[in-house]
Amino acid sequence: MNTIILSAILGVVMMLSSTFINDKAAFKYIASIGLALLFVFNIAESYGFEIFTINTRQLLHFTKFGLLFNSICILATLLFTMLSGRDIEAVGSYVAEYFALIFFVLCGVGIVTSYTSLLMLFIGIEIISIPVYILTGSDKRNLKGNEAALKYFLMGAFSTGILLMGIALLYGTNGNFNIIRVSRDIQPLSYLEALGLVMLFVALSFKVSAAPFHFWTPDVYDGAPTVFTSFMATIVKVAGFAAFIRLFESRYGNMGGQTDRLIGLVIVLTLAFGNLTAVFQQSVKRMLAYSSIAQAGFMLFAVFALNDVAKEGLILYAASYSLATIGIFAVLVKMKDYSFEGFNGFAQSQPLLAGVLVVCLLSLAGIPLTGGFFAKYYMLSAAIKVGNVGLLVVLAVIFAAVSVYYYFRLIQAMYFKEGTVNFPAVSTSFKILMVMAAAAIIILGVFPYTLLQYLYF
C-alpha cells in the first residue's frame, strides 16, 4: 500500500514543484530523493510497516513476491533517473511533468503486482499505459515520436478494449471480479470463461510485446525519445509480467494443461520473431527493441511453468534484464550515431564504459557469471520441471544462441573495429553508477540468492 499511495503523492508533488522551481537540473535530484524514499517505504512494508492501513476489501493483496517486484522496479527507476536524468532534461521543457508521469507509472506497477480483483488489474494496466503514451510523444518536434505515440495509443486502446471484454466475460460467468482460487481442484472451463481468459491473455501479451501481438514494439521503441525507450523496455515491460503471473497463478492458472499449448506457441513465436529480426537490424536502438521482444519470450516461461522456480526466475530476470538494458541505453542515449558502426572503436576512447557494456551484453546473452545466465537458467529449469517440454526448451536455447549473434556484434564493433567515436564527456558519478550496475549484474550471476532471499525471509 505504501508504494501505491506514496508514488501517487510524489507524482503530484513533482507536478506542482515546477511552479516553484525554475532550475531544470533540480528535478532530477528531487525525483531521485523521492524514489529513494519510495524504495525505503516499500522495503519497510515487507517488514510489516505500513503508513496507511486501508481495508482494500479484497481488491489488493500484498505478497513478498509483489513487494520485491516493486523494489526492483523502483530501484531500476532510480538507477535510470540517476544515469539518464540529464538526457530527460534534453527531451523537452516539461521536465517535472516527465518525472511526475514516471511516478504515476510506478503507482500502476504497485497495483499490478498486488491486485486480487480484475478491476484493479484493469486500473493498474491503464495507470501504467497512459503515462507511457504521453512519454512516447513527449518530444513534440519529432515527427517519428508523434507517429509512435499515436500508433501506441491507438493499438493500446484497442488492446484495452479486449482486456475489458475479457474481464466482462469472466465477470459474466463468475458473478465477481475476484481471482483468488476457491478450491484446490482444477475445474473445467466453460466456453465463455475460456474466451474471456484468452482475451485477457491477448491483451497482456500485447502489453509485454509477445508475438504475434508485438508489431507496435519496434516502431514505438524506435520512435520514442531514447531515454523513455529505456524506461518502457524495462520497468513497464517487467511490470506487465508481474500482472501476467498474478493472473495465472490465481484461479486461472495451471488449468491442467489446457493453457500449455497456447502459451508454448506464443513463446516460440516470440522467440523466433524477436531473435531472427534482431539479427538483421542496423541500428542498435532497433536491435534492442527486438531484443526486448526476444527476452519477453524467455520471461513468458514463468507464465508457462507457474511454479516456485518460475517465480524466482522472474524476479532474477526482471532485475538482471532491467539493469543490463538500462545500462546499455544510458550509453546509447549519449551517442550521436545509433548504428552499429557508430560504436566502432568505442573501447579505445571509453575503455571503462565499454567494459560495462560488455558485462551488460553478456548478461543479456545469458553467459555464466552474469545475472542473465541464472535468469535463463531458472526459466529453463522451471519449464523442465513441468515436464514434456523437450522441443520447446531446445528451440529456446537455439534462439538463445542466435541472440549471441546480435549482442556480440556490438562487442565486435566496440573492441575489434577501428573508428572514432563522438561521445560527450561524462561525469565521474555516471561512471561509478555504471560500474555499480555491472557489479550488481555479476553479483547476481555468482550469488543469485543475495536477491532471492528476500522472497523467503
Binding site: 555464466p368 537458467y377 529453463l380 523442465i384 536455447v397
Partner: protein, 479 residues
C-alpha cells in the same frame, strides 16, 4: 587447497596483468604467474596420497543443490599438469613476439588458464558448466583482437558453434538434475542416477554434441582449421594443446559415468564418426599448403583416435587416451612453436615458398624432425605409448574399425614427412631470406619438450600409474 590455488593464481594474476601498461613487465609477470601455477601443480603430484589437500568444498548455492567443489584425482592431476606446463612453455616459446596492448593479452591468457583449470577440477556439474563457458570468453577476445586478417568472422563462428553446444549441454544438465533423487549437482550424485530403460539416450546427445564440438569430432569440426589458422599462435597453442582436451576430458569425467548405457548403445556410431573424421582429416591434411592448417587437420585426426578409443569401454584404450591427452598436448605445442618461428622469420608458412631450411638452420631441422616423428608416434616418443594402447583396445572392440583407423596413421606419416621434406629439404628458393635463427628462449623450450617427449616415451610408467586408478573406476562404472 591445491585445486583452489590452481584456479585462483591465474585468475588474480590475470586480472592484475590487464592493468600492466608495459610489454616487458606484462610478459615477465605472466611468466612468473604461470611458473607459480606450475609449481603448485608439481606439488599436487607429490601430494597424491594426502587427499585432503587435493579437495576443496564450500557452500555456494544451497537451495539449488550446487556446491563449490573442486578436487583433483589422478586424471585431473595429469591434465592440470599439462595445462600448467603449457603456459610457461608458450610464454617463453613466443617470448619474442610483440602484441599491441600486451597487458590485456597476457591477462586474458592467464584468465583462460584459470577457466581451463576450473573445468578440469570441478566436481560439481553446475560449477563445471560455469568454468566451461568462462574458459571460452577470454579466448574469444584473444582471437578476435590479436588474430589474423579474417579473425572476426572466424572467431565468431567458433564462438557461436561452441556456445550453441554448451547451451544444449545446459539443458542436459538441467534434465540430469531433475532426475537425480537428491536434487544436487555433485559428481557423485549425478553419476549414480538410476535411469529407466532407454531414457538416457536423448540426454546423452545433449552432452555429446557439446563435447564433440569442442574436441572436435567429425562432422562438428568445421570451426577448427579456420580458428587455428587465424588465431595468434600463442592462442592456437592453448586451443590445440589444452582446450580441445576439455572435450575428451569431459567425456571421461562426466559423459561415460553418467550415461553408461547410452554410451555403450551409441558407441558404434560415435566410433564410426571418429574413424571417418580421422581418415577424412588426414586426407585433407595431405592437400594443405600451409603449415598451420596442416597441423590443424593432423590434430583433428589425433583427436578422432582418442574419441574412438574412449568409447570402446576397454581399459587399455582408456588408459591410452589419458596418456595421449598429455602426449598430444606436449607434441602439438612443439610443432606450433616451430611453425611460429618459421612464420615470424621467413614471413611465410606456405610450403610452396619454403624449402632448404636444413642447410641454413640445422638446429631447427633437428628439433622439427623430432617433433614430426613424435607426431606420427614413432617408438621411443611419448605418442607411441598412447597410440599403441588405444589401438590395442580398438582392435579388441572391432577389427574393421581399427583397420580403417590405421589407414589414417599411415596417412599421418605421409603428410608429416611431406611437411618435413618441403620445409627442410628441397631447393632453397631464396637463401638470403630463408634462414631461421632460433631465439634462446624458444630453443630452450623446444629442448625441454624434446626431453619430455623422450622421457615419457621411454619411461611411461609414472604417468600410467598416476591415471590407472581413474581408468579402473571408469571401466567399472561402464560395466
Amino acid at each position: 587447497m591445491i585445486p583452489v590455488l590452481l584456479i585462483c593464481i591465474p585468475l588474480f594474476t590475470g586480472i592484475i596483468a590487464c592493468f600492466l601498461p608495459n610489454a616487458k613487465t606484462a610478459k615477465s609477470w605472466a611468466l612468473l604467474a604461470s611458473i607459480a601455477t606450475l609449481a603448485v601443480s608439481l606439488l599436487s603430484i607429490g601430494l597424491q596420497k594426502s587427499s585432503s589437500q587435493l579437495m576443496f568444498d564450500a557452500s555456494w548455492l544451497p537451495l539449488l543443490g550446487s556446491r563449490f567443489t573442486v578436487s583433483l584425482d589422478g586424471m585431473g592431476t595429469m591434465i592440470t599438469l599439462l595445462t600448467a606446463i603449457s603456459f610457461p612453455v608458450i610464454f617463453v616459446g613466443t617470448y619474442q613476439n610483440s602484441y599491441q596492448k600486451p597487458g590485456a593479452f597476457y591477462g586474458l591468457m592467464l584468465l583462460s588458464q584459470a577457466g581451463l583449470m576450473g573445468v578440469f577440477c570441478a566436481a560439481d556439474l553446475l560449477l563445471f558448466y560455469f568454468f566451461w563457458e568462462l574458459a571460452l570468453i577470454p579466448v574469444y577476445f584473444l582471437c578476435s583482437i590479436w588474430g589474423g586478417e579474417k579473425r572476426i568472422a572466424v572467431t565468431f563462428k567458433f564462438f557461436i558453434y561452441t556456445f550453441a553446444g554448451s547451451l544444449l549441454m545446459l539443458l542436459g544438465i538441467l534434465y540430469v538434475y531433475m532426475q537425480s533423487p537428491s536434487h544436487s549437482f555433485a559428481a557423485a550424485n549425478v553419476t549414480n542416477i538410476i535411469w529407466a530403460e532407454g531414457s538416457q539416450n536423448s540426454v546423452f546427445w545433449l552432452f555429446f554434441i557439446a563435447f564433440a564440438i569442442k574436441m572436435p569430432i567429425f562432422p562438428f569440426h568445421t570451426w577448427q582449421p579456420d580458428t587455428y589458422e587465424q588465431a595468434p599462435t600463442a592462442v592456437t597453442m592453448v586451443l590445440s594443446a589444452v582446450m580441445v582436451k576439455m572435450g575428451i576430458f569431459s567425456v571421461i569425467r562426466w559423459l561415460l559415468p553418467m550415461f553408461p548405457d547410452a554410451s555403450a548403445h551409441f558407441s558404434h556410431l560415435v566410433i564410426l564418426l571418429c574413424v571417418i573424421g580421422m581418415v577424412y582429416a588426414s586426407l585433407i591434411a595431405i592437400k594443405q599448403d600451409d603449415v598451420k592448417r596442416l597441423i590443424a587437420y593432423s590434430s583433428i585426426a589425433h583427436i578422432g583416435l582418442m574419441g574412438a578409443a574412449m568409447f570402446t569401454a576397454n581399459a587399455s584404450a582408456i588408459q591410452g587416451v589419458m596418456f595421449q591427452m598429455f602426449a598430444h598436448g606436449i607434441n602439438v605445442i612443439g610443432l606450433w612453436i616451430v611453425a611460429d618461428v618459421i612464420e615470424k622469420q621467413t614471413g611465410t608458412r606456405k610450403f610452396s615458398e619454403l624449402g632448404g631450411l636444413a642447410q641454413t638452420s640445422p638446429s631447427l631441422a633437428i628439433l622439427l624432425v623430432i617433433m614430426a616423428l613424435a607426431n606420427i608416434a614413432l617408438p621411443l616418443t611419448n605418442a607411441f605409448i598412447g597410440e599403441f594402447l588405444m589401438f590395442s583396445g580398438l582392435f579388441t572392440y572391432n577389427v574393421w574399425l581399427a583397420t580403417a583407423a590405421l589407414v589414417s596413421i599411415i596417412l599421418a606419416a605421409v603428410y608429416t614427412l611431406w611437411m618435413v621434406q618441403k620445409v627442410l629439404y628441397g631447393e632453397n628458393k631464396d637463401v638470403a631470406t630463408l634462414t631461421v635463427k632460433l631465439p634462446v628462449g624458444t630453443r630452450l623450450m623446444l629442448i625441454v619438450l624434446v626431453v619430455v617427449i623422450f622421457a615419457f616415451g621411454v619411461f611411461p610408467q609414472p604417468m600410467i600409474n598416476l591415471t590407472t586408478g581413474m581408468v579402473s573406476s571408469i571401466t567399472a562404472q561402464i560395466k
